[in-house]
Amino acid sequence: MLLQLKLPSIRLNKEISVEEKKIELNKVDEFPPMPVSLGSMRVNKTSSWRNFRPIIDGEKCIGCGICWKFCPEPAIFPTNPPEVDYDYCKGCGICIANCPVDAITRQDETK
């Protein structure tokens, strides 16, 4: 899959797309001469780091965007109400702690 990255910058002369799949290097001849990135870290689903998941209550949500703004991954989609990307959410709890109307609750992950 190719990941299309939007360009906040106008000066580039092309859209950047980055390989979003596991890169297998089985033979030395397939290696680049030096360690250079060949794909996106999006292959690394960080959901397993999580002990709990934040649940956003769409009824309570006032659409302020604060949880989206402060997510360090980022693992919240800027929709209204926002949606958590559970593939990547690490369960830090920042979104919960910063929601001004307590619209986000924690639900323990059963592992």
């Binding site: 990941l3 990255l5 939007k6 360009l7 906040p8 910058s9 000066r11 580039l12 950047i16 980055v18 890169i23 290097l25 680049p32 360690p35 250079v36 990135s37 060949l38 794909g39 996106s40 870290m41 999006r42 292959v43 690394n44 689903k45 960080t46 780091w49 769409g58 659409g63 302020c64 965007g65 989206w68 703004k69 402060f70 360090p72 991954e73 980022p74 693992a75 800027p78 929709t79 209204n80 109400p81 926002p82 990307d85 593939d87 990547y88 690490k90 369960g91 830090c92 709890g93 920042i94 919960i96 702690a97 910063n98």
Partner: protein, 299 residues
């Protein structure tokens, strides 16, 4: 569900930093990069010396930022950026932003010589120090940015850090660089504004970003933003800019908060006796007064 308006966004929507990166839960340094790149965009080259960010972007053959990143030796952030910037200019590229992105250890300590050199030459770079107040990548050892009173693995509880955080910002101002700013990840709008400003200025721009580290500070990852806010509200880490020698304080808390609560939220300060807390309070208040005077005289 009834129709809702779009989510309110106070910072650019586009993400350059992608999820999947290797920062710890609630890492302030990852937020710092997320905001900086939202401002600076993709026409950029960033060099990163040894520090947590050398890991956060991901191992070979991946990258979480997908911008040109150059991993460099610990003490070389500024020199490598100087090379990129001057090299690009030599071949007529005047538009690509060149940024060095280093931790406090790579900046206050081992990288200060190269940084001073770049600043003295006024090379056209943005230098960011994301300050988590210790060597985190190597397991929480003290740096000269570690605050008085803090525990680290090399300043253990019985011998907690004594002595003041190096006043690197003043050292940088003394270099006569065109732009210096402090920023905190709890104030992304302010931070982004500062990066946008820095991008337009020619010469050396120094941005000092306060970036809490739950792992090293023994704090709750959920409290990262709170800490980054409280540090400003207590006047421990004031937000200000120095543009061509002119000081401007961006946030002046009406009632400066006492620092007890800020300290109490971090395991690294839990051993501190009351008289040390009072001493810290007194000293930070004095430092704030000095900053106000600087603004008054050089504003």
């Amino acid at each position: 569900m009834n129709e809702k308006k779009e989510l309110r966004l106070s910072i650019p929507k586009e993400e350059v930093l992608q999820p999947g990166h290797l920062a710890c839960q609630g890492c302030g340094a990852s937020l710092a990069m997320r905001y900086a790149l939202k401002a600076l965009g993709r026409d950029i080259i960033v060099d990163i010396p040894a520090c947590c960010w050398a890991v956060i972007d991901g191992p070979f053959p991946y990258s979480a930022t997908n911008i040109p990143i150059y991993h460099t030796a610990f003490e070389t952030a500024a020199a490598v950026a100087s090379g990129v910037s001057n090299g690009l200019k030599a071949i007529g590229n005047d538009h690509t932003t060149v940024m060095a992105w280093a931790g406090d250890g790579g900046t206050f300590d081992i990288g200060i010589q190269a940084l001073s050199g770049a600043a003295e030459r006024n090379d056209d770079i943005i230098y960011t120090v994301y300050d988590n107040e210790a060597y985190m990548n190597t397991g929480i050892q003290r740096s000269s940015a570690t605050p008085h009173g803090a525990w680290t693995t090399t300043t253990p509880v019985k011998h907690y850090r004594k002595g003041w955080k190096k006043d690197l910002d003043s050292i940088m101002v003394a270099h006569g660089i065109p732009y210096l700013a402090t920023a905190s990840i709890a104030y992304p709008e302010d931070m982004i504004k500062k990066y946008l400003k820095a991008q337009k200025i020619k010469g050396t721009k120094f941005i000092h970003v306060y970036a809490p580290c739950p792992t090293g500070w023994k704090s709750d990852p959920a409290m990262t933003i709170h800490l980054a806010k409280m540090v400003v509200e207590t006047n421990i880490f004031p937000l200000y800019e120095v543009e061509n020698g002119k000081y401007k304080i961006n946030i002046k808390p009406k009632n400066r908060k006492p620092l007890d609560e800020y300290l109490a939220m971090q395991g690294r300060f839990k051993h501190l006796p009351q008289e040390e807390i009072e001493y810290l309070q007194k000293t930070f208040d004095e430092k704030w007064e000095i900053l106000l005077k600087k603004e008054e005289h050089f504003g």
